[in-house]
Subunit: 334 residues, 2 copies
């Protein structure tokens, strides 16, 4: 059997049980955006790591080295944000083909440094080595959060409102623009920027983790159709999501109409938006939304709700249930 | 300018200063076997990461998947050992070509698990992703040690005795056997095993860190001619190393004679032995050597001494100074 037949999550399922008996108390292992290891009496550390390989995760001729350095750190900061934690240090492993220009690497490190500077997160170590052909980047990151207060995927409760902290689909739109070599219009360039320079919602995550009504949280890296399922499986719940409520940027809406793209599919299955997906106690929603608006000058957007039932997403459009299949969304039929 | 012109350490020199102003107190950043982040009142965490890429760090058809899984963790455990720390958890990022057999990965994880089990170090997280062509493995690891008691490269003092915890050169000998496709005799196989299944000196590191006379420590990954230089540069010292005192296994000695290899070069420039290199206060040496022998049933071997002066290794052979150049060791000439 080949690995592509079982996929990433199939492989993780195979190995995650193997190490559980070695876990010490106060540690959280495989299965969330980050692992948790104890820190002091008031805080925990959260740790995660992400691997980016040329021609799989990025096209070297379509992303500038500065953007690549920035994005390598951004996607990891997003995982720290998803726990409601604050980043404290990063680790960079880099496999470099021999013919790489030092100037290219300098620019890559400038992009990495710029974002490190913004969130005051030092590079603490790593590994530098040759690579045969593909530029290979692994970033590890450590954050800290209040002890026992990390927001886990397993914390969703029935009746919770499902919210996101920003637009979905822009990054996937940018990828479409790149893959189809669309002209570099202002709108197209903006979508590409969303894909290359995602802003990790670190401050949003920290703020949300302080609100007692926020239960489960994770970041949107694979698209909500996949990401929300992780919350549902970890929490043993079901969800209803209303496609009409998913926040879409004017730019994406415009380009989508012009190009005839499937908007619903882009916003649910397109990944790499790196906004946060959280579930909020219904009774606290109004005050949390008001607080979020005051602090961040934009809305925390409700897109659905958590219900009892087997782990699945019930998609609604114009108040009717629809099903997601490989061609997109269809009307629900038994 | 191409990266191969400045090399790994040239690149690290370029970036290590960029992040220093972001370091919080009690943190140690780039420059040692591990970074250090504070834990509780009694302990620190140490963290490191290592990237292994197919055809650069291993030949997939010459190392079994179980050995590869084992070695990926072993080289990181060795960095934890080098700080005098105890491993508490690991992180595995793996980039997998689509055509990889699941059975291959199962065997790889079995090797990883076997060593995890031995040192009671759980896999806490990671990343699984596609790779275009080359199997790519990044392991991150967290350890803990007594607060402020990690053994750093910068701690060597004049008059210290330079010691190693085991044979040097076996792993390099094994690599020679592999690269030259030598027949699989018992001796050759033993050298290959040293290369594929290095035993990290975790217990030795923990024990040495408890002895007050042990000053600087690191692990031998690139060969002592390179590794000891890191200690000398970090400590601002010079060293004398006596080639005759470097511990060599009977097997390596035998194969070296038969094949006409340059033994001195193998044991000083050959890497991946993953024994520990430390500097010990001269006055404590006898008792530390005696204690080491009692606990580990083998010798802590003295190979040289730390002296004042610019950071360089003064090699001695048969009481005469020799110089190391690309052809090997020559008699010293002004």
């Amino acid at each position: 059997m080949k690995i592509h037949e079982i996929g990433e999550f199939g492989f993780i399922d195979r190995i995650s049980g193997m190490f559980r008996h070695l876990l010490l108390p106060d540690f959280l292992g495989i299965g969330d955006d980050c692992a948790i290891i104890p820190y002091n009496e008031k805080e925990d550390y959260v740790i995660t790591t992400d691997l980016l390989i040329e021609d799989i995760h990025f096209l070297k001729h379509r992303i500038t080295p500065g953007q690549l350095g920035y994005k390598s750190l951004a996607v990891n900061l997003s995982d720290i944000a998803a726990m409601g934690a604050e980043p404290v240090g990063s680790f960079l492993s880099i496999g470099i083909p021999a013919e790489t220009e030092v100037e290219y690497l300098d620019a890559l490190m400038e992009g990495y440094h710029k974002l490190s500077q913004k969130y005051k997160v030092p590079l603490l170590g790593g590994d530098t080595t040759k690579s045969k052909k593909y530029l290979t980047i692994n970033v590890g990151i450590v954050g800290k959060c209040r002890r026992g207060k990390a927001l886990l995927r397993s914390m969703a409760q029935s009746g919770d409102i499902v919210c996101v902290t920003g637009f979905l689909g822009d990054s996937a739109g940018g990828l479409e623009v790149l893959l189809n070599n669309l002209p570099e219009t202002k709108d197209n360039l903006q979508l590409i920027l969303s894909h290359h320079l995602p802003e990790p919602h670190v401050k949003e995550g920290l703020w949300l983790a302080k609100q007692s009504g926020v239960h489960a949280m994770m970041d949107v890296s694979d698209g909500i159709s996949s990401d929300l399922m992780h919350i549902l499986k970890a929490s043993g719940k079901s969800a209803v999501v209303e496609l009409d409520k998913i926040p879409v940027s004017d730019t994406l809406r415009k380009v989508t109409v012009a190009k005839g793209w499937d908007l619903d599919k882009l916003v649910t299955c397109g990944g790499e938006d790196y906004v946060l997906l959280c579930t909020v106690e219904a009774g606290s929603l109004a005050s949390i939304k008001a607080g979020f608006k005051t602090v961040f000058s934009r809305d925390l957007i409700q897109i659905g709700r958590i219900i009892e039932g087997e782990s699945r997403i019930n998609w609604m459009k114009n108040s009717q249930q629809v099903v997601l299949n490989k061609h997109g969304f269809d009307h629900f039929s038994v």
